[in-house]
């Protein structure tokens, strides 16, 4: 599998995701945002960080960069795209994913390990997880409070486009287990074709037991044929 990580000025999880991809046997390339051509890739990852300092709105300026037009093109042709954290924010700014990520309900940056539940594994990203499996994954963001309109929410539910929801260690999905105020505790969503996944939690931080746990590895191994 060939993967490509897009690096924006201010991306800071680019190395982490590259390490994870290589560990999982992807052939990975890093692409600087000023490039106008993408290498042939099966997976494009937009990493976490603070592209353009999160200035104006997080993800807004990266959403207007040269390379992103190419990403939109291949995404529409069905290429797999994964946006993590700031990558998720960028995907919503480009319109590849609907919805928006607002400031956390408590108005503070939050870094901690949270529990998330796999809502639907019938897709290329999550097939190695079980439905309703509970994962412990690190979040680190200021704007992770997912919000969208009623129609989209309905679509997300009906077409099974919700990837993860925040929950507690027993799998309860409620206000107490919602770290940032996301609507319906949503932590990650797909586009309608399920070839694009945007998620706030950082799976690349969960691939090494010495650092954390290995709850993130199956996301990458699901993508390998």
């Amino acid at each position: 599998m060939n993967s490509t990580v897009i690096v924006f000025p201010g991306s800071n999880c680019d190395r982490d995701i590259a390490v994870a991809l290589e560990k999982m046997q992807f052939k990975n390339k890093m692409i600087w945002h000023k490039e106008t051509k993408l290498p042939k890739s099966d997976l494009i990852v937009i990493p976490g960080g603070f592209s353009y300092g999160d200035y104006l709105r997080s993800g807004a300026i990266a959403g207007k960069s040269l390379i992103i037009n190419e990403v939109i093109k291949v995404a529409n042709q069905g290429c797999l795209v994964l946006g993590i954290c700031n990558g998720f924010q960028i995907l919503t700014e480009t319109g590849l994913l609907k919805g928006v990520l607002l400031r956390n309900k408590n108005l503070k940056f939050i870094n901690k390990d949270v529990n998330i539940k796999v809502i639907d594994n019938n897709n290329k990203f999550l097939k190695k997880y079980k439905n309703n499996q509970i994962l412990k994954i690190n979040i680190a963001h200021n704007e992770g409070n997912f919000f969208t309109n009623k129609d989209h929410l309905k679509e997300l539910n009906e077409k099974k486009l919700i990837a993860f929801k925040y929950c507690d260690e027993n799998g309860e999905i409620n206000e107490d287990s919602n770290p940032n105020g996301s609507i319906d505790n949503i932590a990650g969503i797909f586009n309608s074709k399920k070839n694009i996944l945007g998620m706030m939690p950082h799976p690349e931080r969960m691939i090494d037991n010495l650092v954390s746990n290995t709850d993130g590895t199956n996301l990458f191994s699901s993508l390998l044929n």
Binding site: Y52, G53, Y55, L56, I61, K64
Partner: protein, 80 residues
């Protein structure tokens, strides 16, 4: 009565956000763009007909909470 408050960074204070927005707009071919400074905007409605008194109160609100006087300037305008 309705007032607006515009808060901007003081003239000589670095505005990283304004700078990046400016660069991006220039890259998007808005070539004659000279300078951008960003700020905050509030609208405040008050039940009180004494304009002088209201302006004084709003000024107090600015000083006590809305404005960081060390790095920000503000302007109060009557809208209606």
């Amino acid at each position: 009565m309705k007032f607006s408050i515009t808060i901007t960074l003081k003239k000589d204070v670095l505005d990283p956000q304004g700078k990046v927005v400016q660069n991006t707009l220039q890259n998007l071919n808005f070539k004659n763009l000279k300078n951008i400074r960003q700020g905050k905007y509030f609208e405040i409605e008050v039940n009180n007909d004494d304009q002088k008194d209201v302006e004084k109160k709003i000024d107090e609100m600015c000083k006590k909470l809305l404005v960081n006087l060390i790095i920000e300037d503000y302007k109060i305008n009557k809208i209606s």
